[in-house]
């Protein structure tokens, strides 16, 4: 959260220990603050419901929503829905990202190719992806395929741009050195180009993970299908006010899935790229106070 604290150079062992203690105290203070805010928000929600400010047939109370969430966790149907959403998301992101890395690398290697194609890809990037949803629904019907096609299409354009920039960012000296040393093209790509493009690709992937989930939920809500968290929300909506707690439970579950997927990608990015300079801030961290 904060940069390294400036510590006096004298008595390093003690100042380090003191800084650690201070860091620990600050972190526990922060945790208490966060829990308090969470409790306050949930409490306020409950109070507004109980006092009738939020009408029960429009916005269920916190306790009823929490109970519905607990109930859903214990039901097979919920996990089937969750699994369907994760599957459509994963297939879409995998296809979209795979083709983006392939196409982006090929375009990035050739100046003329990337000059010709980049603006067109940039243009496609600005097209609202949901525009092609009706087409996907026509072509594939309310299926899992329709959903991952939309996800893949939406993930592809921004990620391709990202990959092109990554591949183009290779230090020319390093590339020429590798060439002079007689490293063959394929190996050069794996050893020189890919690692230096990795941070760009990782950032693109993290964004793609979030975009992909949004697009799958949209595809579920508008295109329909058999199972999915979005469909769970829709089913509960159509069941009327009695099922609204379930609807909000599904919404919260969707949010938690978003936290999980985005968090996983962020973590993977940090793990895989720990050697890269863009990640050194994280590596240093507030606890490890270094002399300089």
């Amino acid at each position: 959260m904060t940069g390294p604290e400036p510590t006096p150079p004298a008595a390093p062992a003690r100042s380090v220990r003191a800084a650690r203690a201070a860091g620990l105290a600050r972190r526990s203070g922060r945790l208490t603050g966060r829990l308090t805010v969470l409790a306050a928000v949930l409490g306020l929600w409950q109070v507004l419901s109980v006092t009738g400010y939020l009408r029960a047939d429009e916005f269920p109370s916190m306790t009823r929503t929490a109970a519905a969430l607990g109930r859903e966790f214990g039901q097979v149907g919920f996990w089937v829905d969750l699994w369907a959403t994760v599957r459509a998301w994963a297939a879409g992101v995998a296809i979209g990202a795979g083709s983006a890395v392939l196409v982006g690398s090929l375009l990035g290697l050739n100046r003329f190719a990337h000059r010709s194609a980049s603006p067109v890809i940039e243009l496609f990037k600005t097209v609202p992806v949901v525009a092609i949803l009706p087409l996907a629904i026509l072509e594939f019907g309310p299926t899992l395929r329709m959903r991952y096609v939309l996800v893949a299409f939406g993930v592809f354009w921004p990620l391709t741009i990202q990959v092109i920039y990554g591949v183009r960012s290779v230090d020319p000296t390093v590339r020429d050195t590798a060439e002079a040393l007689g490293v063959r093209a394929l190996r050069r790509f794996a050893v020189v180009t890919l690692p230096s493009a990795a941070p760009f690709i990782a950032t693109g992937l993290r964004v793609a993970a979030a975009t992909g989930l949004i697009l799958d939920i949209v595809a579920e809500l508008i295109g329909g299908g058999d199972n999915g968290l979005g469909l769970g929300i829709l089913t509960a909506l159509n069941a009327g006010p009695a099922a609204y707690p379930t609807m909000y439970a599904f919404i919260v579950a969707t949010g938690l899935l978003g936290v999980l997927l985005t968090g996983a990608f962020g973590l993977a990015e940090r793990r895989v790229l720990h050697w890269h300079e863009s990640q050194r801030e994280h590596a240093r961290g507030p606890g490890a106070v270094s002399g300089g």
Binding site: G33, P128, V129, Q162, S169, V218, P241, G255, S278
Partner: protein, 303 residues
């Protein structure tokens, strides 16, 4: 700030912008003077024409491929491009389908305006009150990561299907990228500058206006750019889910009534609309940031 390393931005948001357009390269002191300047301008002009030709040929080739490949198409879902263009002219140029654009743009403008202004204001507030920022950050992150379309059914039960619902969902969804980027950008302000402002006895409002805001501007703009994408998506999705007008409604009804050519015209119009909104944003961004870097360059000269 101008460092194109992709992960240099805020931990959660860096990637919505790609390195080339995230922060335009600081342009030098404006107005090259003399003959050399004129020559350079001509050269730059030539280069621009060549560059345009360099990519235009590809775009034109793609459209040509579409045109000829679809010319004899009998597929129900992929009519000939010629038919689509003809229908596009009938419906959107001479016809009255363009009236569908007004409600869409109204909802978008209101929602995005609220999200942008609210995001900057709330972000500044959170930056100013550190305990509040630290204790609310998990909650804000949850709201940011929650796929906003999942909220649509809930918003419909609360606000019905009219304008309020659309503005509400667009602004709720689009506020987070701007808010989080504003906080992050303001946190990046050089502490020395803040101390100087305090030592000079500047009022907090003055400090915010003349020290914090300019320094955080590039990142705030990056946040606004992410918010723009979110706002456009929700403009369309909210019209597809529950509406009686708008471009999203037009496309989905055309699809449901199997008026495939009409649907294609809607898709093309929406694509153009999305690109146009982005272009307007980029133009505004250039304008604002050119002023920003111009001011910086002048400052550097004076000292």
């Amino acid at each position: 700030m101008g460092d194109p390393t992709p992960a240099a931005g805020p931990a959660v948001l860096a990637g919505g912008r790609h390195p080339a357009t995230a922060v335009p390269a600081p342009s030098g002191p404006p107005g090259p003077s003399g003959r050399a300047g004129a020559g350079r301008a001509v050269l730059a002009g030539c280069r621009r024409v060549v560059a345009a030709a360099g990519w235009l040929w590809f775009a034109i080739a793609l459209v040509a491929v579409w045109w000829f490949a679809s010319a004899d198409s009998t597929s129900a879902y992929f009519p000939p491009l010629r038919t689509i263009v003809h229908r596009l002219y009938e419906l959107w140029i001479v016809g009255d389908a363009k009236s569908q654009l007004a409600p869409s743009l109204e909802h978008f403008a209101a929602g995005y305006g609220i999200a942008g202004a609210g995001g900057i204001a709330l972000g500044a507030l959170l930056w100013g009150v550190r305990p509040l920022r630290e204790s609310t950050s998990p909650l804000l992150y949850f709201c940011y990561v929650l796929p906003a379309p999942a909220l649509l059914p809930a918003v419909i039960t609360l606000f019905g299907i009219d304008t309020t619902m659309k503005v509400a969902i667009i602004s709720f969804a689009a506020v987070w990228p701007t808010l989080l980027n504003t906080v992050d950008g303001m946190r990046g302000v050089d502490p020395v500058k803040l101390d100087t402002a305090r030592a000079l006895g500047l009022s907090p409002l003055r400090t915010a206006g003349s020290v914090v805001l300019p320094a955080a501007l590039p990142q705030i703009v990056a946040g606004l750019r992410n918010s723009l994408q979110v706002a456009i998506i929700l403009m369309v999705v909210s019209e597809m889910t529950a509406s009686t007008s708008g471009i999203g409604y037009f496309i989905l009804t055309a699809q449901q009534s199997l008026a495939i050519t009409d649907m294609w015209t809607g898709i093309i119009v929406l694509a153009v609309l999305g690109s146009a909104l982005n272009l307007v944003f980029v133009a505004a961004e250039r304008f604002v940031l050119a002023w920003h870097y111009g001011a910086r360059a002048a400052e550097g000269k004076r000292s």
